[in-house]
């Protein structure tokens, strides 16, 4: 039976996050913590593959204790098991240290049941690097497949998958050996409303939680801030644009003023348009 691990992260809802205008920092309390939207698609795709071929879907997150809520959300989507690694020593990790910690957790999950496929989101909406997925794949020495927008076939017996990978101006059809890791695009599926039984399951569900000490073979120096080659040296609010001239008057007058400004750039017209 297939064992699929989906990696998920809890993130602040950056669409509504507020900035503290005095300190120029994010007021995290202003934004609710949600399951990274891209990861909902990762879990949904894992569940769809399970429904097609049979198997188990486990989700894994590294995060602070409240991230249990994001795991529960994944159980609602249809995941079977949830694992969380949570420890102060993980804090401040960049993508290299994050992929290291997650890989160690996957090693441990694989001892419970060997892992065939790992699915990540395209990116998160907070750090939004998209680097963690390929990082895990390299550490496990399995092929990374990024920008996946369709899973055509998963063949565990013969040990391969066929996926569509988005490229500029189209897609490529790729065959990869199993196990492998894929980072999926948002367009890969739509996440439906959760079913009532799944919601019940989720409400009762308690994930397995591991600290650093529960992981085997771990090199503390590669974790968290210490294990991160990159550091965030400075954070600032993007300069606020100044704003320009507002045209006054009634619509007709406004349009006339606008016209005179735009028509000054006559050389632009009917030369190089778009393909519209």
């Amino acid at each position: 039976m297939l064992h699929i691990v989906a990696c998920i992260k809890q993130v602040p809802d950056t669409k509504i996050i507020k900035m503290n205008p005095k300190t120029n920092t994010m007021d995290r309390a202003s934004a609710p913590a949600i399951l990274n939207p891209y990861d909902a698609h990762a879990v949904e795709e894992a569940v769809r593959i399970k429904n097609r071929y049979g198997g188990t879907v486990s989700v894994l997150t590294m995060g602070p204790p409240p991230a249990v809520k994001a795991i529960k959300k994944c159980i609602e989507i249809g995941a079977d098991e949830g694992y969380m690694i949570s420890d102060r020593k993980f804090a401040g990790a960049d993508t290299l240290a994050t992929s290291y910690a997650l890989t160690k957790a996957i090693d441990k999950i694989a001892k419970i049941q060997p892992v065939d496929l790992i699915i990540c989101g395209k990116m998160t909406i907070d750090g939004d690097t998209g680097q963690v997925g390929p990082g895990i794949a390299r550490r496990l020495d399995i092929p990374p497949l990024t920008s996946v927008k369709k899973v055509e076939e998963v063949n565990k017996d013969q040990g391969y998958v066929v996926v569509h990978r988005k490229i500029e101006d189209g897609h490529e059809v790729i065959q990869s050996s199993l196990p492998c890791l894929m980072s999926v695009e948002k367009e890969i599926n739509e996440v439906p409303y959760s079913s009532f039984p799944n919601m019940l399951n989720a409400a009762r569900y308690q994930p397995v939680i591991w600290s650093v000490d529960d992981l085997e073979d771990i090199d503390i120096k590669q974790l968290g801030l210490k294990g991160s080659p990159t550091i965030v040296a400075k954070v600032w609010a993007p300069p606020k644009p100044e704003g320009g001239t507002m045209f006054e008057g009634n619509p007709k007058e406004q349009v006339e003023q606008l016209l005179s400004v735009v028509l000054e750039k006559k050389e632009l017209f009917h030369t190089k348009g778009g393909s519209e």
Binding site: S177, V235, P251, Q254, L258, G273
Partner: protein, 344 residues
Amino acid sequence: MNFEEYSGVWVFIEENEGNIAQVSLELLGAGRRLADKRGVDLCGVIIGNGVTLLSETVFEYGADVVYVYDQEIFTHYRTESFMKALLHCSEKYKPEIILYGATSTGKDLASAVATDLPTGLTADTTELDVEEDTGLLLASRPAFGGNIMATILCKKYRPQMATVRPKVMKALSPEPGRTGKLVEETIDVKEEDIRTKVLEIVKSTTKKVRIDEADIVVAGGKGLGNADGFQLIHQLAQALGGAVGASRDVVEAGWVEHPHQVGQTGVTVTPKIYFAIGISGAIQHLVGMKNSGLIIAINKDPDAAIFEASHYGIVGDAFEIVPLLIQEFSKAFAEEEVDHVREV
């Protein structure tokens, strides 16, 4: 790690069907500035099949040295094969900095290479600088959905790496005949060593929409009400000979296809004139158009954030203003033609 051994600014040259990606040329421009500040070479790395000749272009756009891996195994981009070539090159010639376009290929390759080296990788950079004496790369990027900017450093590892957004840096004008040192390399990778295969490449059949190449973009948002209302945007774009852009909410509502989406999860555009009509001006939208030459906003809410990002604004109802604009522009162009005829 002895930092002295690491020297030179590298750009991974992305190639597609015999053409160099625009972002790679932009990075040569940015890389040239860093290399000059440091007094080191600017190098391009080309990996592919039948790509050696492209080195000429890379020299013309500013490189001093080009490393080429021209082998059949590199016919299609694949993470594992390209990564092996780049790791080979990096371990042999030890650059201090490697830049990649933040494209799907560039990000894929850079993430894999960073893990294997290992080193730090700054994602989606929009500003680049280097400390002259220490060689420390100052790579700044938007994060948290564009709500903040952050400068990321990689102090203890070399090479330092960053992916850089397309359309942010400027390519130099090519200098015809400019050449440099060509270094041809090969590596021993066999097809069996690579665990993925490209079975097929499918080009999108829908007409290619390249709003990032248009001089004029007319973009509409949720303020147009519905798909019918959005037709006004098409009409104005047509009157101006421009391309149609849209906010994400419009694309999600299905009024127009995704290739028209401007912003963080769409395309970045830098037209000479950008119209934002019925668009509120969310930060994720602004990052995709704020470098446009002239930004004109039309919105019925005087407090809409889009006005702060615009050079000119009209507070008003799109359904009143846009038809007038279409009418006036059509008239203006028609008169011009008449003028033209008279002159002749």
